[in-house]
Point group: D2
Chain length 343, copies 4
Amino acid sequence: MLYFMNDYSEGAHAKVLDALIKTNMQQHVGYGMDEITGDAKMLIKKSINRLDADVHLTVAGTQTNTIAIAHFLRPYEAVIATDLGHISVHETGAIEATGHKIIEMTSKDGILTPAMIDAAILKHADEHWVLPRLVYISNATEMGTIYTKTMLEDLRKTCDQYGLYLYLDGARLANALTCADNDMTIEDVANLTDAFTIGGTKNGILFGEALVVTNNALKEHMRFSIKQRGALLAKGRLLGVQFKALFEDDLYFKIAKHTNEMAMLLKNGVLELGYKLVTPPSTNLIFVVLPNSVHAKLKELCHYEAEQPYDENNMEARFVTSWATPKEDVLQLLKLLKDFKEI
Amino acid sequence: MLYFMNDYSEGAHAKVLDALIKTNMQQHVGYGMDEITGDAKMLIKKSINRLDADVHLTVAGTQTNTIAIAHFLRPYEAVIATDLGHISVHETGAIEATGHKIIEMTSKDGILTPAMIDAAILKHADEHWVLPRLVYISNATEMGTIYTKTMLEDLRKTCDQYGLYLYLDGARLANALTCADNDMTIEDVANLTDAFTIGGTKNGILFGEALVVTNNALKEHMRFSIKQRGALLAKGRLLGVQFKALFEDDLYFKIAKHTNEMAMLLKNGVLELGYKLVTPPSTNLIFVVLPNSVHAKLKELCHYEAEQPYDENNMEARFVTSWATPKEDVLQLLKLLKDFKEI
Amino acid sequence: MLYFMNDYSEGAHAKVLDALIKTNMQQHVGYGMDEITGDAKMLIKKSINRLDADVHLTVAGTQTNTIAIAHFLRPYEAVIATDLGHISVHETGAIEATGHKIIEMTSKDGILTPAMIDAAILKHADEHWVLPRLVYISNATEMGTIYTKTMLEDLRKTCDQYGLYLYLDGARLANALTCADNDMTIEDVANLTDAFTIGGTKNGILFGEALVVTNNALKEHMRFSIKQRGALLAKGRLLGVQFKALFEDDLYFKIAKHTNEMAMLLKNGVLELGYKLVTPPSTNLIFVVLPNSVHAKLKELCHYEAEQPYDENNMEARFVTSWATPKEDVLQLLKLLKDFKEI
Amino acid sequence: MLYFMNDYSEGAHAKVLDALIKTNMQQHVGYGMDEITGDAKMLIKKSINRLDADVHLTVAGTQTNTIAIAHFLRPYEAVIATDLGHISVHETGAIEATGHKIIEMTSKDGILTPAMIDAAILKHADEHWVLPRLVYISNATEMGTIYTKTMLEDLRKTCDQYGLYLYLDGARLANALTCADNDMTIEDVANLTDAFTIGGTKNGILFGEALVVTNNALKEHMRFSIKQRGALLAKGRLLGVQFKALFEDDLYFKIAKHTNEMAMLLKNGVLELGYKLVTPPSTNLIFVVLPNSVHAKLKELCHYEAEQPYDENNMEARFVTSWATPKEDVLQLLKLLKDFKEI
């Protein structure tokens, strides 16, 4: 059985696992106050070239978005996001569960534009409406697309114009920053946002996200929010060990590069075979328009997500490559796609 | 200055005010446990022909929607409503503040259709999404349109199919049920929904809504929710006195009839003058496409709501009639609209 | 039947009712943006001699406490109050329902002391605990006792030492400020707290509280919180009319003076008859240790609250006087207490 | 430096770590729908002899308590717990952040008694109070004490009498069930509660709790709550692998037995040396009355928690043993305690 279901099907990259094994019997204070976590945070600060940033290591993505957004907002303040945003559709209403509305703007490719922010602000006139206060974007997006530096700069300007915070969900940030279409550095991300996350779970570690806060106004008492939302891991050192491994020797970016290469191999192969893409992706989420007849056979030999019907005869299939995807698997998948099509 | 701003510009209908004056020095127990409130509830139960219903008297509309929906739902459950629904746009995120997402379906005329519910259900596949659980509609809608009996029956069927509660916001229920296009009784409303409200504030009393719960599964402990949301009025008798006055001698419906007559007088006059309507209304909200030049003059002589630009040369103006609108005021407004147009 | 159940058994004082009648058919913009509300707020600002204060008129007490405290606090911040505080025990967990813990300090007489704050702060060491941030007191307290100016000054100092907000629930503020034991003015209250309320419901109006915010850091966007919590009354002018009547000619204080005089008449009479008090009150809540035998007879002729058993042979009875209590009723109650005791 | 700070200072037991290493490159579906997690859940169900139970694997303790309690309760319902309960004092108000009050009953040894429940119920009379609905206990308690079978049966009876759910926080359940004073099995725990947790983090795994729900009325849609609270781990298999290792060959209980033996060695040694205990513990939390002079020296050579002052000359020190504590460390700590005392 082939596996293109997601980028979290395996455990951890060998270097990360080794670090966990090596430190297993060390004794450390709990809740992330240990030295290794300190080292990991410092490596991240250096990587983004912002020693003034606050870095927190948390367990999972939905959890981190919830902590950050609930921490940043007052009760009547709201988030602007696309209707494809992870918080809009795949977090079981976690943001609303903390009391905040998400103003969802329609998007085809997962990209939020300044014009969407303009429209949202215009509509929210007075105290009978929620007060838009934070812009949520994902990079890479949920559709595998990415923001260019100019796009992010424009969002920053729009946010400044309206007094909005800009928060970037980086669950797949490594993929975004190492793909061919990218023209940004992680420093740019740090400098153009108020806060952002560096996803680990989908990039080679067992679990873990880094929440980076650069805006001073948003920093205070974050550990209270982390604890209150159940994310202050007793053995916090586990996060430190893993992120330290990721940010030594640029492992974080090397892993993602492989992921992207496998994705492009798949994308180009798929296009060559004459399949259509739902959206042209830059990173590791490949949404393919798959004839129902192909799907009927392929699903017996390969795990992937059947998103929704595309039209009467086709469906949208999502293929995801990961740090652990071997080249042979991509080639074999392409072979199957070729075989099933010809019949 | 003419007043077509809303249907809550004046105080209370004379009969309601008289009842308040007459009972002012009576001594009653607090929090709605008094006899008069008991009488009022019984009158409402008889009016809807459901002696088994639970009736609660609350102060205001946003408050009542919040109480009801927060009481009915589990933390991960969500509401389906139109994107024009009062809870979607004019309650400062009150529903989200209690932790529940509103799944907003695009609508032009404020009407929610079974097809919209189908679409919402189809999309919410598993535990990564919120669980749709309650359908919110307003009758009359926020656009002045209404549901026919068939429409409400179809919604009921769709809700039953998916295990959804049907909740009807009746802030302007009296207007809906007394307008020319209506074919429903208040009994129908009670029988086809799980819970609904009977709005008083916009129909001749100082303040007050009746929350009616007919579904047994939703009844228990409602007074706890009312108190927790700050709606258990110390002098609860004030609500009893007012609703008793409303539901004696059908005052509730008589008042609304006048409101609707004034609205139709205005609507027909406006159309005769050659103005366009944004949406053809059945009740007392008249959305008129007003040339900017007319607006510039009219706004000096009449209060009404300038909703938003319609196009470059026109804006959407909302004119509202009420129980207190004199015929002369409508005629004078029409005269102004005529004069300003001719120039 | 005599009525000593509470201070909200009747409707409104004649002057307040007259003002409502007189303005009934005036047309006003909604949601408290009308002129009368403006006048009322200005009268309150002048009365407290703080033209810089923000004043908001809301409907009910629990509602107002919820709005204020939820508006002031971040998600992980908590309230310090006594275990007798209205928010601790009589608001159905409304504060917790907005996400905030109340740290309850044991008190016999309803008074919160600086030593209690010290103890609460000492215990809450780090991010594993909530962060104490607001001190809630009531004046008069739920036991009918009051704060002297020195006591309030000491609380202010303690709050400043720890960076805490001081919020005073003035549901019965008029009674506190007009009783014999009082040495404070309403100006003192305004100057020594960050925010406080001026209760109307229990002092002669139909319903209504004024929320006064003097600390600039707490003012912003309060109307959003008021609307979100369902307290932005459509016919907001009703609150304006009533508070204007209250703050013209010092009616607010005159009413309370009568209430207190009736209370002291009752208290002294009760003591003369040889009954014991649970707590010596300064205002209009008289907690009497009532022999069960007396209670058995008295309850047939008089409404009052039977709080809880005092010991095997006695219970705690709460007698409350109000703006509407006639002297004759107090004398008759005392006569009953005398008669039932002698037998 | 010696380590008696807590029972989560090291990583994982060798068998658990091995299982993680061995399964690292296996491909599994996400979010706990994998086979290994299925196996782990089945092992747990067999261990508690309740195949009908629902078992969910979550990441951390505060998180699990929050999920469970928020899932079980309606908005106006409250928890009864001791004032030493983990949710009362060490979870940053996480329960209140979901909207629910904790009614805290004073306890010296961390044990909640039926009499405390009686008292809480008696006080909460009507809808002006929260509605007590769930009893929270910890076993072992936060003071290292435990419930006997009779004590738990009595709590069950009291809960049934008042219609309360009984929820047991088993963060240190293994320690409770393997200590000398214990007379219960894990089956008893399953049969006498409505839901309980089986703590992993403090008993030899990297992280993880099992939430067991035996009451059918509480089971539905739990995965929605888990996801909404950010606890649905992408690589859910990590929890499955660890719990499978724990519940094969009774490793779960073997580990705890060692922990308890080390604790008893320490406890007996401490008593022999003439030190006093704050509370006689049954498990691995030893609260010692430590003279300030001893503390001043000891803290330079050993990590442990200095809880709070005991009196002028002494403080309360908490020493914790764990699955990884070597006997030599206990002996060395006792030697230090002896040396510092003699001087």
